[in-house]
């Protein structure tokens, strides 16, 4: 069964008809961890706001659990956990009071899970919201989004503000939720995060979906960003198949490579190099070079 069904969904904002998303369609199946990647302003948050019926579509429809997002919004949200990129809560409330307030809207007893999660995320429940750092507010967001054991978890750039240790705990938590049966919709502009977690990804650019792929295929297709430094590098030797956007700077060359990595390693070993870096291109670079 499809947990999320999006059919020709478009959203234009306000009188100026500013582009949000254009004719977006995709499905997310039960139990999937579905990645949603794109640069800032591509329409990721717009799509999520439409799921949560914070905004109304200009055309098309989105269904969650087989029900229309607008018509059945409150009912659907009983089973959705949402973690925004930046969390804002009522200041002047204690963390525990805020979480209890949030829990009071769900038709089940959430207090046990609330305390479990708080302990796991090392969250001090007695502090006031306004005294919390950005990262600690984010932890409140994680507990608040998961305390009702939702069937669908919607994450919008969830790791910003979390230190690496907490990020790892968070991803483990999300994997556990997934094993428990929850479907995850994971929006991010960090490709690495999405690659680690997801089964399938949709890539969105300027409001339109340009690619939906199995994560394994995407990884196979993936380019490496290689930078070689050294004196007397023979630039011409790198003019082989799979090399793109070769650039020469002072004593170094950099390029994108797609193909057999062993072949590239042999090529590199022929050179007298001072330094080599091989890294994942940022999503922006992928967009810039390969989706034009």
């Amino acid at each position: 069964m499809s947990i999320i069904e999006v059919n020709h969904l478009s959203k234009y904002y306000g009188k100026a008809k500013a582009r949000g998303i254009v004719d977006v369609s995709f499905n997310v199946e039960e139990g999937e961890i579905f990645g949603f990647i794109g640069p800032n302003g591509a329409g990721k948050s717009t799509t999520i706001r439409l799921f949560l019926s914070l905004i109304y579509p200009s055309s098309g429809e989105a269904k969650i659990f087989g029900k229309d997002c607008i018509q059945y919004g409150p009912e659907i949200r009983q089973d959705i956990g949402y973690l925004p990129s930046e969390v804002f809560y009522y200041e002047g409330m204690k963390v525990l009071d805020l979480l209890k307030y949030s829990a009071s809207f769900y038709h089940k007893d959430c207090s046990k899970r609330l305390h479990e999660l708080a302990e796991l995320m090392e969250l001090d429940l007695t502090r006031r919201i306004d005294d919390l750092s950005y990262g600690n507010k984010k932890k409140v967001g994680i507990v608040q989004g998961l305390l009702h054991q939702p069937k669908l978890i919607v994450l919008d750039e969830p790791t910003s503000g979390l230190d690496p240790l907490m990020q790892r705990k968070f991803f483990n938590l999300i994997r556990e939720e997934n094993e428990r049966g929850a479907t995850i919709f994971f929006s991010s502009h960090i490709l690495g995060e999405v690659q680690k977690m997801c089964n399938r990804v949709a890539i969105i650019k300027e409001g339109s979906i340009i690619n939906i792929q199995d994560i394994k295929t995407l990884q196979k297709d993936n380019y490496k960003k290689i930078r070689v430094a050294g004196n007397g590098l023979d630039e011409a030797r790198f003019a082989v198949e799979g090399v793109n956007n070769l650039e020469r700077e002072d004593g170094a060359i950099s390029f994108f490579f797609k193909g057999d990595i062993n072949m590239m390693m042999r090529l590199l070993s022929e050179q007298e190099v001072a330094d080599v870096t091989i890294e994942e291109p940022t999503l922006e670079e992928i967009f810039m070079h390969y989706y034009e």
């Binding site: 706001r49 949560l52 914070l54 109304y56 930046e86 809560y89 009522y90 002047g92 809207f105």
Partner: protein, 264 residues
């Protein structure tokens, strides 16, 4: 219910501040009265004032040298203070979710937008009632020092009922503006401007017979303190008109909020 209780708690500070303002106003007002009390020369001064001013300030209907008469003049100021508080509470209780960027949190919980408005409205109504009771209590407490009679107490009770209706009118208008306006920052100032505008209409409408029709546009004219005192009744057509305004504003609030895009 949880929305209602949370809003009540969040609004306690504001309620306390307004209560202090009202209580101080009552104390200062009554201390002024001690100068007028049993001082008929003051009535002679009134005769020298421009007629329009006397009319505008509603000084003619009352004998300022009695506590009842003096209270009759004070009602206008109570109406202003209580209405301003109600208008600001009404618009703020809705728009603060956008201002504090909590609107996404509030609306991604499994609640309907109508439930949110209902909870908030009830909380604001309770606050308005609390402020009215503070006013009432302060008036009665301060009046004990003077000669009061049954008519005075009846007058006070009736005027509180009138003030309550005015609070509800401006509360509803505030809530409507908070729900309907996309520029949420302007909702509160527009609500108060509208209120002051209708107050000046109430003054203008008293200046000239030809402008009398303006009184229908000013809730400050709906419940004339003179009628409250001398006839001991609210004028029913205005009660219905008030109910109509409140109803239209609230329906407008629910409808417009349900249709809006709300996000940070």
């Amino acid at each position: 219910m949880n929305i209602f209780l949370r809003e009540l708690r969040a609004n306690v500070k504001s309620l306390l501040i307004w209560s202090v303002i009202v209580a101080l106003f009552v104390v200062v007002g009554f201390s002024k009265f001690s100068a007028y009390e049993g001082n008929p020369e003051l009535l002679a001064i009134l005769d020298d004032l421009p007629a329009a001013m006397v009319e505008a300030m509603n000084l003619r209907a009352f004998n300022l040298t009695t506590i009842t008469g003096f209270y009759g003049v004070m009602i206008t100021y109570f109406a202003l203070i209580l209405s301003i508080a109600a208008a600001m509470w009404g618009s703020d209780i809705i728009t603060k979710e956008e201002r504090d960027r909590t609107v996404e949190f509030a609306l991604t919980l499994p609640v309907t937008r109508s439930q949110l408005i209902t909870g908030k409205t009830l909380a604001a109504v309770v606050d308005s009632i609390a402020l009215l009771l503070v006013t009432w209590g302060a008036v009665l407490a301060n009046a004990t020092a003077y000669q009061t009679d049954a008519q005075f107490y009846k007058f006070v009770s009736l005027s509180m009922l009138a003030l309550f209706i005015m609070q509800l009118i401006f509360l509803a208008i505030g809530i409507f503006l908070g729900c309907a306006m996309t520029h949420y920052k302007r909702a509160s100032s527009l609500a108060v401007s509208l209120l002051l505008g209708t107050y000046f209409l109430s003054i203008v409408s008293g200046l000239d017979k030809n402008l009398e029709f303006l009184k229908y546009f000013s809730p400050f004219k709906y419940f004339d303190a003179g009628v409250l005192l001398h006839e001991s009744r609210l004028e029913m057509p205005y009660v219905w008109l008030s109910a109509g305004i409140i109803l239209v504003a609230m329906v407008g609030a629910y409808v417009s909020y349900a249709r809006r895009d709300l996000y940070i």
